[in-house]
């Protein structure tokens, strides 16, 4: 801590990187290269508006509507565009379906390419060296770290994202969900299940759909 007075006679000094970011922002604003209001808008969007709930809605719809699912798997972009899930880092989406024969898992070995419009900002573990290095090399062991054990005859396919192509995993619909509507189904779908590091479990109770 560069300044750690108990009574804080002056404003608390931000960290070195925080000051460097402030400096960049000031310089670029002065040069008219950015608009501070636009930055706030971007932050608000990713902090509050966009997140895995978008992807979960797509999954629930695909589970409920076979024609939608077929279109989504064949060519995801126009289908997602119609739902409004497009734009930054979601320009070219490919949806890969989990089946009893094949489990899909997504990584970005280069950096952290991720389908922002559907899942928001990636979690820390997705960006870590450990995940990026191991997902391709030993996917089953990585899945085991996440508590996922697949049947021996289920193949694991790992999809490496790039700046051009992003992937969303369509998890398998769990047993015991026949009577659930789309919002109830979407509530079952976790972020990790759409990256392929989790499965979607059956609802806790058979009699009540989750809120």
């Amino acid at each position: 801590m560069p300044h750690d007075h108990s009574d804080h006679p002056h404003a608390l000094l931000p960290s070195d990187p925080a000051l460097r970011v402030k400096a960049l922002e000031t310089i670029l604003t002065r040069k008219g290269l950015i608009e501070p209001a636009a930055l706030d808008e971007i932050i608000d969007t990713y902090q509050n508006k966009i997140g895995p709930q978008n992807g979960a809605r797509v999954v629930a719809r695909a589970w409920s509507d076979p024609a939608f699912k077929a279109a989504l798997l064949a060519d995801a972009d126009p289908v997602l565009a119609e739902l409004g899930y497009y734009g930054r880092q979601g320009e070219h989406m490919v949806v890969v379906e989990n089946t009893p024969a094949q489990h899909n898992m997504v990584v970005c070995t280069l950096c952290s390419c991720y389908p922002w419009p559907l899942l928001g900002i990636p979690p820390g573990w997705y960006k870590s060296d450990a995940y990026r290095a191991r997902a391709v090399r030993e996917p089953r062991r990585v899945l085991a770290d996440f508590g996922v054990t697949l049947p021996a005859d289920t193949a694991v396919r790992v999809w490496d994202s790039t700046a051009e192509v992003r992937y969303l995993v369509l998890p398998m619909r769990p047993q015991g969900t026949a009577g659930l509507d789309e919002p109830a189904l979407a509530a079952l779908v976790s972020r990790d299940s759409m990256i392929g590091t989790a499965l979607v479990g059956a609802p806790q109770s058979n009699s009540e759909a989750p809120a």
Partner: protein
């Protein structure tokens, strides 16, 4: 080096305000056409590779430090913000913080 991938609790999109700021700066510059996202990914991957050679990156603060390094390098190469400019304005901000009474909004004097 740990191979463990921790993944338990849901986490906020950004752990610190400056992570959000540097992310938004980058997205905003990309959308203004200052660089393509493919160029960004290439430069950022190279930084991660370089930084990862000396130690295991954890995907948290390390990740955004690499992000900031990359953005600084791109802006310096483009002449949009030279290292000298950044150092000067950074110092101005630091002085502003040190000279502003606690609780008051911090502003640059010039």
């Amino acid at each position: 080096m740990s191979d463990c991938i921790s993944h338990s609790a849901p986490e906020p999109a950004f752990l610190e305000p400056w992570h959000a700021q540097v992310f938004a700066l980058t997205v905003s510059l990309n959308e203004a056409g200052r660089f393509s996202w493919a160029d960004w990914v290439e430069a950022f991957s190279a930084t991660l590779r370089r930084n990862g050679l000396s130690r295991e990156l954890d995907g948290g603060a390390d990740y955004f430090n690499a992000w900031l390094q990359t953005l600084e390098a791109i802006l310096a190469a483009q002449g949009s913000a030279s290292p000298q400019e950044v150092a000067l304005v950074r110092r101005d901000w630091e002085e502003a913080y040190l000279n502003t009474p606690h609780g008051d909004p911090v502003r640059l004097a010039r």
